[in-house]
């Protein structure tokens, strides 16, 4: 919020009338929100005083609007287009996923990966961090259940960096470059998550002014874990308030500093149209077959409900499948994961649910194992291989 007097001072002088007004209406925002009735009353009082210098109400409105618009950048389409041409597409390091996202993660946008547990969300987050860190960008990684694993980051970078045509030795050398670039923290509740975002908005401006590198990627894995706790509090508005605050802070950060924000989210299913709220996720699924369950609701939906859904620019659904009979091509040759009897080959299907650039509904497949992580052909088209839902574990 900007104080009324301060805001108007920048755009010319402030007279006694404005100062009297400032005693009642403190901020520009409050003036904007004040009802016409109040403003007219003020104008009448000023007229009674019969001061010569008093501005007309109309002029005051204009000055307030001007003061407020100083905080807003107006860009034309050409400038935006030029900016887009020079903007960075951050690769995820997985070929097919990059193709699905139209080249990679777009800076300034919020990308969400959602899926059941497990579906490879954390693995994708690790891959993204590894790639961005290798490209020299600082990465902020926030985890809410302690699921950041530096060992896995090292392992994954080895697979992911193949993407950049590096030789074996170059890959090993680059690890010393990747690890210091990733900052990790554990977040314990939504409030602290919001504070960190607001802190970043404040501080990155300062860093930018002093020509210090600001992070290019901010990963949060996963905000929904904390948000569901706040949403379950009796007063629903509290959770919704925090949710709005968080998404506002995230999109401001992403937009102002051209940061790619990466989130993960729960997957929920609707039992019946009547109870289709996002809070369903919390339901114990002992009685799954709700009376209104229809075939269409089998497809998982992103958690956190309708209020959250528009806050995300790009949304990708992840789902795991187990490979029953392994094709050599799929396994990545003799070094493939399936060759060792105790490691199970798992393939992951990514579906683009929402995007402003790509066409939604497209799918990409990738394989996730110890020895490799990479994009693959749709295994349903490959002959020697049978794919099953991974959650059926016996």
């Amino acid at each position: 919020m900007v104080r009324l007097v301060e805001g108007l001072l920048k755009g010319g002088g402030v007279d006694a009338g404005v100062e009297r007004l400032a005693k009642e209406v403190k901020s520009l925002e409050a003036y904007l929100l004040a009802e016409c009735r109040d403003k007219t009353k003020h104008a009448e009082r000023e007229r009674e005083r019969d001061t010569q210098t008093t501005e007309t109400l109309h002029e005051l409105d204009r000055r307030v609007a001007e003061a407020l618009s100083r905080q807003v950048d107006v860009q034309d389409g050409l400038a935006l287009f030029n900016k887009l041409q020079t903007s960075v597409l951050l690769p995820t390091g997985i070929g097919t996923l990059d193709a699905l996202l139209g080249g990679g993660l777009r800076e300034g946008q919020i990308t969400e990966f959602f899926g059941a547990s497990p579906s490879g969300k954390t693995q994708v987050c690790h891959c993204i961090s590894a790639c961005a860190a290798w490209l020299g960008y600082p990465v902020v990684y926030m985890t809410s259940n302690g699921s950041f694993s530096p060992e896995r980051l090292v392992k994954l970078s080895k697979h992911v960096l193949v993407h950049f045509d590096l030789s074996e030795t170059e890959v090993v050398e680059s690890l010393s470059k990747i690890l210091p670039n990733v900052s990790v923290t554990q977040v314990n509740d939504t409030l602290s998550l919001i504070s960190i975002f607001q802190g970043m908005i404040e501080n990155f401006g300062y860093l930018q002014k002093h020509d210090k590198p600001i992070p290019k990627v901010v990963v949060v894995d996963s905000p929904s874990l904390h948000l569901y706790r706040d949403l379950s509090i009796g007063q629903q508005n509290f959770g919704k308030l925090l949710m709005t605050q968080l998404s506002t802070a995230m999109s401001e950060l992403a937009n102002r500093y051209n940061i790619a924000v990466v989130l993960t989210n729960h997957e929920v299913r609707q039992f019946s149209p009547l109870r289709g709220d996002g809070r369903q996720a919390a339901a114990d699924r002992d009685h799954v077959d709700g009376p209104g369950a229809s075939p269409a609701t089998d497809q998982g939906k992103p958690g956190l409900g309708l209020l959250w859904q528009p806050q995300v620019n790009v949304r990708v659904h992840l789902k795991m499948h187990r490979v029953e009979r392994l094709d050599d091509g799929l396994a990545g040759g003799p070094e493939g994961p399936g060759k060792e009897s105790n490691e199970r080959a798992v393939v992951c299907k990514a579906t683009l649910i929402k995007s402003s650039t790509g066409n939604c509904g497209r799918e990409a497949w990738m394989i996730m194992g110890n020895r490799l992580i990479q994009g693959i052909e749709n295994p349903h088209n490959t002959e020697n291989c049978e794919v099953r839902d991974v959650s059926v574990w016996n």
Binding site: S117, S149, I178, L179, P180, P213, A281, D286, P295, P337
Partner: protein, 346 residues
């Protein structure tokens, strides 16, 4: 580099700025505060609720809410010192403590065993061996090395680490623990020493469980040697709470909240006390997608499913005892047959 800068900068800005404290404050009250001319924390803190209510034109209750929010050190502290970003390099060079499971191949895949600082879940049908593995883990956590080969050399060693075993089903068998401990350590004295380091709590109801979990942080504060908290099982009382038809039946949202709160506390406990939280869970059946057949999933629903960073499935058929590493941030899925692994499970 950047984290240091941002921290020092943030610390100076929070001493005056009220905004950061009022994130959870309703918009109406925030506007009232700005309108009344409050812009730093100090202004609000020294007022009484009545005075502030008069200034803001709100009810004293609302004013008290604002004062409480302004007084919480928490938010300011988050921006200042308590948020410590560590680089992945630091984390990689100082790996967190790990408790070996005693299954060499699985331990190798996990990078040494169950990691401290996170919640790990094991689920499976009744009688599959969840409690057995929990008891084994309690022993290996204290015995140190844990691998049977070391103990075969006859070296009876016992670290000073402790274990807190929370039993909700009454399935803890001290004789079995003693047997396992004797198998690992070999000597009578060391076995007795080990048993004395396992603290045991029996929980009889949902309320007791919630109360205990809320109090765990202070308990661990007093007993800093506890490196492993076993909760066997997390689901038993929580599931029965759903169907209770008694007078003070918890309604759905209240139950959800108490569940979510417990999950939050368990995660926080693991992270802040750098200990390993090991929980066992029941399984339940969910209709498979596409409508053909059913699939087996952990109980307590999707909200819980995302809480554990690592999850194991254990199951038993006539000639096969499978232990599947179902979910882990540090390893792909691994399946081992317990019958063919170490002798500890015989």
């Amino acid at each position: 580099m950047y984290s240091n800068d941002s921290r020092s900068n943030a610390a100076t800005s929070t001493t005056t700025c009220l905004d950061a404290h009022l994130v959870a404050c309703p918009p109406k009250l925030r506007r009232a505060l700005v309108d009344a001319g409050f812009n730093n924390v100090h202004d609000v803190c020294h007022l009484s609720a009545m005075d502030l209510a008069r200034e803001l034109g709100t009810t004293p209750e609302e004013a008290q809410q604002v004062i409480d929010l302004a007084k919480t050190k928490a938010v300011g502290a988050y921006l200042g010192n308590s948020v410590t970003f560590r680089t992945a390099l630091e984390l990689f060079e100082n790996p967190c403590e790990r408790i070996p499971l005693g299954i060499p191949r699985l331990d190798a895949a996990l990078g040494g065993g169950i990691s401290a600082g996170q919640v790990t879940e094991i689920c499976g049908p009744p009688g599959a061996g969840k409690t057995q593995i929990s008891m084994l883990l309690s022993v290996t956590a204290i015995a140190g090395g844990g691998s049977t080969r070391d103990s075969a050399a006859g070296r009876a060693s016992c670290s000073d680490r402790g274990v807190l075993y929370i039993d909700t089903e009454g399935s803890f068998v001290p004789e079995r623990v003693e047997e396992i401990a004797r198998g690992v350590l070999g000597s009578e004295a060391a076995t007795r020493q080990l048993l004395s380091q396992i603290q045991y709590v029996r929980v009889h109801s949902q309320v007791e469980q919630l109360a205990l979990v809320s109090d765990l942080a202070s308990h661990l504060e007093r007993n800093r040697n506890i490196k492993l908290v076993v909760l066997d099982s997390v689901a038993f009382h929580m599931r029965s709470g759903a169907t209770s038809t008694s007078g003070d039946k918890l309604d759905f949202s209240k139950r959800q909240h108490s569940l979510a709160n417990m999950f939050h506390l368990l995660t926080k406990l693991a992270v802040e006390n750098k200990c390993c939280v090991w929980v066992t869970n029941h399984i339940t059946v969910r209709k498979a997608e596409g409508g053909d057949g059913a699939k087996v999933v952990p109980a307590l629903g999707d909200l819980w499913a995302h809480v554990p960073a690592e999850r194991f499935f254990v199951w038993n058929t006539d000639d096969f005892r499978g232990l599947l590493l179902h979910k882990s941030p540090s390893s792909p899925q691994v399946l081992v047959d317990l019958n063919r692994e170490t002798g500890l499970f015989a």
